[in-house]
């Protein structure tokens, strides 16, 4: 029965802590592929994960993990791997020890656990440091060992709560590729983040939470497309902002320019993609030197502002 049920189903789930609402009437189903859960701090991401892991009981609605209520039964956890947002580990254990110990908690023999631990440590790229105490690991290594522990029993569903938080760019790239690989292998992966760009690099399937409510659910590009059709700003740092403004103002997607600061040009567009597509050619043609190009509105806050504002 449970193997045919979707990995995650939330039906009208609400959870509140006294007067504070954690999650408000959320319904969704997730099964297969990588799903990004986006939302600022306090949006309800961690509450949703805690409900999925049976650590909290919903005040209303029902939570099903492979068709089973995780509050009542721990059976579905055999198929779930969870990477928490929290930092602490068993610092005195070696990487191999930590992962194999966690494997044994799934009922594996000592030998099976060590084999599987070696395998997943190789998968996350920690083979070289597997005999080192995790207390001596870097931030990125700590995140990867947490992912390894969540993968050791070959779960069907992997939940990662802010796995890229605090990691350096190299570690981010490494962890993102691990997550993408898991998705490619047909696992159901749920990744939370409050940074749009991170999720964008991992998946197209997103869930957006805000103030405990489900704000959007679906394909990121479709949502971004909606966003693109609304006024956007592009901030260009250049030696000759006025010269570049002259070259751009006549082009179709640009409908206004501003000079917010010395050496900066801000162009206003209603089609961000189109503006970005013409920008390189215009710069080359004008012969103006450009130091940087930024999209101040291309972040989660802008997206939320748009979604909350209703367009």
């Amino acid at each position: 029965m449970s193997s045919e049920s979707p990995a995650v189903i939330l039906e009208s789930v609400s959870k509140w802590y006294g007067e504070v609402i954690g999650i408000n009437d959320i319904s969704l189903a997730i099964d297969g592929g990588v799903t990004g859960v986006l939302g600022p701090n306090g949006a309800g991401k961690s509450t949703m994960f805690k409900l999925l892991l049976g650590r909290l009981k919903p005040n209303q609605g029902s939570v099903r993990l492979f068709g089973t209520d995780p509050w009542e039964s721990t059976a579905p956890f055999r198929r779930v791997g969870y990477v928490s947002e929290t930092e602490p580990l068993y610092e005195w254990m070696t990487g191999l020890d930590f992962v194999s110990t966690m494997a044994r908690l799934h009922g594996m023999t000592r030998e099976e656990a060590i084999d599987r631990a070696e395998h997943v440590l190789d998968f996350v790229g920690l083979t070289d440091v597997r005999h080192k105490e995790v207390g001596k690991y870097s931030k990125g290594m700590r995140q990867r060992i947490k992912i390894a522990h969540a993968l050791v029993h070959d779960p069907d569903l992997i939940i990662l709560d802010e796995p890229l938080h605090g990691c350096d760019p190299l570690a981010r790239t490494s962890i993102m590729s691990v997550i993408r690989e898991l998705g490619n292998r047909g696992k159901t992966v749920i990744v939370s983040s409050h940074i749009l760009e991170e999720i964008e690099r991992i998946t197209e399937q997103i869930v957006i939470l805000h103030n405990g409510r489900l704000l959007a659910l679906g394909n990121l590009h479709a949502i971004r497309g909606l966003l693109d059709k609304h006024p956007h700003r592009i901030l260009i740092e250049t030696e000759s902002p006025r010269e570049l403004a002259k070259a751009l103002i006549s082009r179709e997607p640009v409908y206004g320019v501003r000079f917010p600061d010395q050496g900066y040009l801000e162009i206003q567009t209603s089609n961000l993609s189109a503006a970005h597509s013409i920008l390189p050619q215009v710069i080359v043609d004008s012969g103006v030197k450009v130091r940087s190009v930024e999209n101040p509105d291309d972040n989660l806050e802008s997206l939320l502002g748009y979604l909350v504002g209703g367009g």
Binding site: T74, P88, T101, R104, L105
Partner: protein, 551 residues
């Protein structure tokens, strides 16, 4: 078969065992990596070492014999210890009466109402009379306490005016001279002449045998000259072992000095049995009320044997009750069990354990089992070490007192059961009150400590039944009785002879024997009670944890 193609027995039961083993092993390793675990265990070991130092010191000093019945004292300062004086039938209180001194042989008397009131002769006299002396032995001079008249070399005072024995009476052991040259005497004297005994007075007379020299025995000879034969019951016990009372082979047979005296009564305790000791026991408490021996029956215990064994037992029992059950029993769970789950929550590592397919109720049981594995190993090792050292050093002829080991097994069992009960309780408190649970545990600890000491002194007190420590201590009391059945006798002898080995204070017979007095029944009752309490507390903890939301 399950979805992964494994047999059902493989996938359910075996993996359950593995998961249990993994949680237990993880718990053991976590406790092993906690500094507080090592600190509290090191303190426990230090406590045991200190106790052993005191014990070894006491044992090395040996058990000096004490004169329990005063036989070695020389009360009258005549150079002869009391035991030797009793042996020769001389007085312990009269310096003139000592072994080899002349024995008084009684010849006759004038009674209070005898018709003839005068007597003449050269005798030793005792009583009250008017003496018309031809000779007085001034060297036979004493005082009030010996009742021998103090002649002061013949310089006695003049008598008062008036009629003696009518207007006035002479003091004891005194003499005075009347105007007509006669003496008014009262006491013992040696004199020749005529004695008139007024009506209502009496006089007896006789003579002393030839004196001979007896070498005074050293006082040590009269310390612990006999052992106790007591079988633990009341009534006639301990027949004279060394013949003191029967007087077999004595050098001189003492006789009565005066007609009313009996210097040797073989049945002075008047129980119809000659030369025995009567033990009077309170039928309600079973404790010795008094010990009444016939004359010259040495009923005191041999201290080297008695005090050594009694002190050894008192040490073993005190270590088990106070150091193991009360101190280790309370401090180990306070440091090791209170945070079994609470610390994981505080550190933020609980999710590693709860995101696994392990039922929360089982999880609590496995955590407590892990804690028990650590503390049990510690307690067993410590008790084994203590057993080895004390059984090697302890009194007795054997090299190792193997007979002590069951007591140490009882101590270890009691401690582990108490640790299980406290551990389950403290862990549950840690779950319910993560922040302030430690204060509640301390309050419970104080209560248990108080009840423990009350239970040691008065195990029958019903209020102590409400504590965990009481039942642990009962296991030790019962194991002691089963292993050393004569401990009751040692305890009662300790009280009876005032030998302060501590045994009578630290040990009492077990109370939960359902009226049978059978120690094994008490062990079974206490073990069942403590196991039941632990299971109930673990179930409570499991039930609470199962319904608890983990933030």
């Amino acid at each position: 078969m399950d979805s992964q193609g494994r047999g059902l027995s493989e996938s359910v039961w075996t993996s359950l065992d593995r998961k249990a083993g993994a949680v237990i092993e993880l718990t053991v390793r976590q406790l092993r990596n906690k500094i507080s675990t090592w600190v509290v265990m090191a303190l426990g070991a230090l406590l045991m070492t200190l106790l052993l130092v005191f014990y070894i010191d006491a044992i090395r000093d040996g058990f000096e014999s004490i004169d329990n019945d005063g036989d070695s004292f020389d009360e009258d300062n005549d150079g002869y210890p009391m035991g030797q004086e009793r042996k020769y039938g001389t007085s312990d209180w009269d310096g003139e009466s000592f072994p080899g001194s002349g024995n008084f042989i009684f010849e006759g008397q004038i009674d209070w109402n005898a018709p003839d009131r005068s007597i003449s002769g050269n005798k030793t006299w005792e009583g009250s009379a008017i003496l018309e002396a031809t000779w007085i032995d001034y060297d036979y001079s004493g005082g009030r306490w010996s009742n021998i008249i103090d002649w002061d070399d013949g310089n006695v005072e003049q008598c008062q005016d008036g009629d003696p024995f009518d207007d006035w009476w002479p003091d004891y052991a005194s003499a005075c001279m009347q105007e007509d040259g006669t003496y008014v005497v009262s006491g013992k004297l040696k004199a020749s002449g005529n004695l008139f005994v007024p009506e209502g007075q009496y006089l007896s007379w006789g003579f002393f045998t030839q004196e001979f020299f007896v070498e005074p025995d050293p006082p040590e000879m009269y310390i612990d000259e006999d052992g106790i034969d007591w079988d633990g019951s009341g009534g006639s016990q301990g027949i004279d072992d060394d013949g003191d009372c029967l007087r077999v082979g004595w050098p001189a047979q003492a006789e009565a000095e005066m007609w009313w005296e009996d210097p040797h009564n073989p049945d002075s305790n008047r129980n119809g049995v000659s030369c025995d000791v009567v033990w009077i026991i309170n039928p309600n408490t079973g404790e010795v009320v008094s010990i009444n021996g016939d004359d010259l029956v040495d009923e005191d215990p041999v201290d080297a044997d008695y005090a050594g064994e009694s002190s050894h037992r008192a040490f073993v029992i005190a270590s088990g009750k106070v150091a193991f059950v009360l101190l280790l029993g309370l401090f180990l769970p306070l440091f090791l069990a209170l945070g079994l789950v609470r610390d994981e929550t505080e550190r933020g590592t609980l999710h590693y354990l709860l995101s696994k397919p392990i039922h929360r109720g089982e999880f609590i049981s496995y955590r407590v089992l892990g804690y028990l594995a650590v503390v049990s190993t510690y307690v067993i090792s410590l008790s084994l070490l203590m057993a080895l050292i004390t059984s090697l050093i302890g009194p007795g002829d054997e090299l190792i007192r193997f007979g002590d080991f069951p007591v140490w097994v009882g101590i270890a069992t009691a401690t582990i059961l108490v640790l299980a009960a406290y551990g389950s309780l403290f862990n549950t408190i840690g779950l319910v009150m993560p922040k302030y649970g430690v204060y509640l545990c301390i309050i419970i600890g104080v209560w248990e400590f108080a009840m423990g000491f009350t239970s040691i002194i008065s195990p029958n007190s019903p209020v102590t039944f409400l504590s965990i420590s009481h039942w642990g201590l009962q296991i030790i009391d019962a194991t002691v009785l089963a292993t050393w059945p004569d401990t009751l006798q040692y305890s009662q002898m300790s009280s009876a002879f005032g030998l302060e080995t501590g045994l009578e204070w630290i040990w009492r017979p077990p109370v939960h024997t359902l009226g049978t007095g059978n120690p094994y029944l008490s062990i079974a009752t206490s073990v069942t009670f403590l196991s039941f309490v632990s299971l109930i507390l673990i179930s409570m903890g499991s039930s609470i944890f199962q319904r608890k939301e983990i933030m």
